[in-house]
Amino acid sequence: AAGVIQSPRHLIKEKRETATLKCYPIPRHDTVYWYQQGPGQDPQFLISFYEKMQSDKGSIPDRFSAQQFSDYHSELNMSSLELGDSALYFCASSLGLGVGEAFFGQGTRLTVV
């Protein structure tokens, strides 16, 4: 069965550079969630989208922005990268309304040097 696809799997950027992470949800899923997991930490909710509209916002820095496109894929744009942004970034998708299983992608490991 198709799963959540994230790209790239690994990304190395320098401080102050920009990064774009992409997430392709499971077909027919209309909700996308972004999480950040730092070393030794639990996944922290960043932001979510339902039907291409931002629905909930968590601890997402102002330097980050995200959107969900008409084909339901989502992109997380990160600017002015800092060393502390190095983390695993997970995307998850579900079929609406915040109830039911959210299925996670493999994650993008971002390393800022």
């Binding site: 959540v4 994230q6 909700t31 969630y33 999480y35 930490q41 639990d42 996944p43 922290q44 909710f45 979510s48 989208f49 339902y50 629905s55 909930d56 968590g58 695993l88 997970f90 998850a92 309304l97 915040g98 109830v99 039911g100 299983e101 959210a102 299925f103 996670f104 992608g105 493999q106 994650g107 490991r109």
Partner: protein
């Protein structure tokens, strides 16, 4: 402010025995709870969920119990197998919102 807490960072259990992972939450608005299993460098994998209208949900070797009055849930794995060794995250959500709040995780090690 940690709304979902897993107070045991690690747990070791002998193969064949029962593993019990615990999770506490503070937000009484949470009405849907999930358990995820995570291997290193992989995304969390959904295991089992429970709605607040139930107090138990069973799926094969995995059973989740919910005690709403105590704001506590637990995951039982019976019998435990070495392949169950992973980090287990408890997550909670409020119906109609679009975010899952994760606990800090419990690393389970099943000894052969």
């Amino acid at each position: 402010d940690q709304q979902v807490k897993q107070n045991s960072p690690s747990l070791s259990v002998q193969e064949g025995r029962i593993s019990i992972l615990n999770c506490d939450y503070t937000n009484s608005m949470f009405d849907y709870f999930l358990w995820y299993k995570k291997y290193p460098a992989e995304g969390p994998t959904f295991l089992i969920s429970i709605s607040s209208i139930k107090d138990k949900n069973e799926d094969g070797r995995f059973t989740v119990f919910l005690n709403k009055s105590a704001k506590h849930l637990s995951l039982h794995i019976v019998p435990s197998q070495p392949g169950d060794s992973a980090v287990y995250f408890c997550a909670a959500s409020v119906e109609g919102t679009y975010k899952y709040i994760f606990g800090t995780g419990t690393r389970l090690k099943v000894l052969a």
